[in-house]
């Protein structure tokens, strides 16, 4: 077993030990004060933060065809996503979308490790912004530590108040935006200022705002450590060719401080000068030199910190770097391996299938409810009648006129009142349908028949099967 795997095994054991004590006690964690750092990966993270939060805060304000582009209208049970409208009946697509998201996560994790955690997870992204605010108001790591240790003097009060003030403003805006995905955001904005919010809007605005403040301001890495299911199972997607952040132990050890310009070989030292910068910048407070740990969210802060130190020392960069276990051991790294191929084939098939299904979706739906009062009615002239309540839902963006027809028994007729059913875009109508058939054609008391609802222009048509009841055959 490789060193990194050993380390992971040890991490898992520690976790087990922690779990076995879970009922009685947990280690009480010390607050982590991540040091600010600039560098390649931090620039990438900053870019991700701006892109993702930009999308989040701006999308609800985008208008598409005269309507909010993304509006998840729960009270009306309609989801508008750009030009498309989804109904509860389309839950199938939502399920597919979630499966695609999960598979993409597996795929990315197998290839590149926990990039989701480091760059895209809302928890990380909002925590990052909250850390920036903390940095502006309270200063860098040493000043923050000193401030927390110090007495409640005027400076501490001002700094803490301004930090929480900005945090709460941002959190409130976040909650407002969240509600804005479910209720038209422009009207919501007006109603916030006229203090005219409904009870649920108020509740969700405060709830989501409070969750943002608590999660990004206080819980931070603890969410990843104790609450996130993905953090616990992501290692199952890892293999020896997965990109991980790793400390090059062979190059770095034995670690130790030294004067600049001193020859490490002479001192019997590796390249690690034991400055602990990688530990200080870590948002989850781990030491990457202990090997791969499940706390690591792959943000790359330690890489940027170490690269700067290596530059200063005049050593080559990459003592801590994105690499794979195979590369660390001098073996070739394969990108296309069975796991990756299986994930990508499944993903492509699902995406293609979903897109085709969305494109070919018939924008109407028919539900048939048989009349409960009487199974059937015998009419004059030996005919039998069954009555149904047929729900027709026009899911398209235009009004349509529909007609109903029946098949499945010889000479069956379908009557509706009115004959032509007009339904506006996005509306639903309940239509009573009378099916009639001559008693002589029924050989059994119940037969399956098909009801077809067709739009007058012939473009839309849905057929549903229902049961037609008749009398028990007395003639024999």
């Amino acid at each position: 077993m490789s060193e990194a795997r050993n380390r992971r095994g040890r991490g898992a054991k520690q976790e087990d030990a922690a779990a076995s004590e879970a009922v009685s006690m947990y280690q009480s964690r010390e607050k982590v004060y991540p040091r600010g750092i600039k560098g390649r990966f931090q620039s990438l993270r900053k870019f991700a933060v701006f892109a993702l939060l930009g999308l989040y805060y701006l999308l609800p304000w985008v208008t598409w065809n005269g309507r909010q582009a993304i509006l998840l209208d729960l009270p009306a049970r309609e989801f508008h996503i750009f030009g498309l409208t989804f109904w509860p009946q389309d839950f199938f697509f939502l399920a597919l979308l979630l499966i695609i998201c999960a598979l993409s996560l597996f795929f990315v994790t197998a290839l590149a490790g926990r990039v989701w955690c480091g760059y895209a997870c809302p928890q990380t992204v909002w925590t990052e912004v909250f850390l920036w605010i903390e940095h502006w108001t309270e200063g860098d790591r040493p000043r923050r530590m000193k401030l927390d240790r110090g007495p409640w003097n005027r400076e501490k009060i001002v700094r803490k108040f301004s930090k929480h003030g900005i945090w709460i403003l941002l959190a409130a805006w976040t909650g407002f935006t969240f509600v804005g995905f479910f209720t038209p955001i422009r009207e919501l904005g007006v109603r916030v200022f006229t203090l005219d919010l409904g009870p649920w809007e108020t509740f969700w605005l405060i709830f989501y705002g409070f969750a943002t403040w608590g999660n990004a301001g206080f819980m931070r890495e603890n969410v990843c450590l104790y609450m996130c299911p993905y953090a616990r199972f992501q290692s199952a997607m890892f293999d020896r060719d997965t990109l991980i952040i790793s400390y090059d132990e062979a190059r770095g050890e034995p670690r130790g401080p030294r004067k600049r310009g001193a020859d490490p070989a002479e001192l019997g030292l590796g390249d690690c000068i034991d400055c602990t910068m990688c530990v200080q910048v870590c948002p989850t407070g781990i030491d990457i030199r202990d090997g791969l740990q499940y706390e690591c969210i792959a943000c790359g802060a330690c890489i940027d910190a170490c690269d700067q130190v290596m530059d200063k020392m005049g050593y080559p960069r990459g003592l801590i770097r994105y690499t794979t276990e195979n590369t660390l051991e001098g073996k070739p790294t394969r990108i296309f391996r069975p796991r990756v191929i299986v994930y990508s084939v499944l993903l492509l098939a699902l995406i293609a299938g979903t897109l085709t299904a969305v494109a070919m979706r018939t924008p109407m739906r028919v539900d048939i409810l048989p009349d409960r009062n009487a199974l059937y009615r015998e009419l004059d002239g030996g005919r039998i009648e069954n009555v149904y309540d047929v729900k027709v839902l026009n899911m398209s963006q235009q009004a349509h006129t529909y007609t109903v027809s029946a098949s499945g028994l010889p000479g069956i007729t379908a009557d509706t009142d009115p004959d032509r059913i007009e339904i506006a875009a996005g509306e639903q109508r309940n239509v009573p349908v009378r099916l009639r058939v001559d008693a002589s054609v029924m050989s059994t008391p119940g037969t399956d028949v098909e009801l077809t609802v067709t739009s007058e222009d012939g473009t839309l048509s849905v057929t549903e099967t229902t049961r037609f009841h008749g009398p028990y055959n007395r003639g024999e």
């Binding site: 009922v23 729960l74 009270p75 049970r77 509860p88 939502l94 609450m227």
Partner: protein
Amino acid sequence: MSDASATQAASSRLRWLGAILWPSFLTAGVATMVFFANVDPETLRYETLPDWEIGRKLGYTLGFFMFWAVCAASSALSVWLFSPARRAAKAGRKES
């Protein structure tokens, strides 16, 4: 009780509560989504409690909290059934 052990006890109670409430929150969220994608709360109310005035929003909320309560009850039972067994195992180890 010393300060440290009091903090530890409080923190362990908090974790305990978290272990019950958090997973049940997640599962209740999924359950609510699946349930209400297939069942319109309006129809459900009409079929079962026609005299009550429950709008869709209240219906969704009630549904979610019901699911949460049920899931939390299950989590709580799991935690509760787990703990004495472990204490017994620890006691057993000490005896041997």
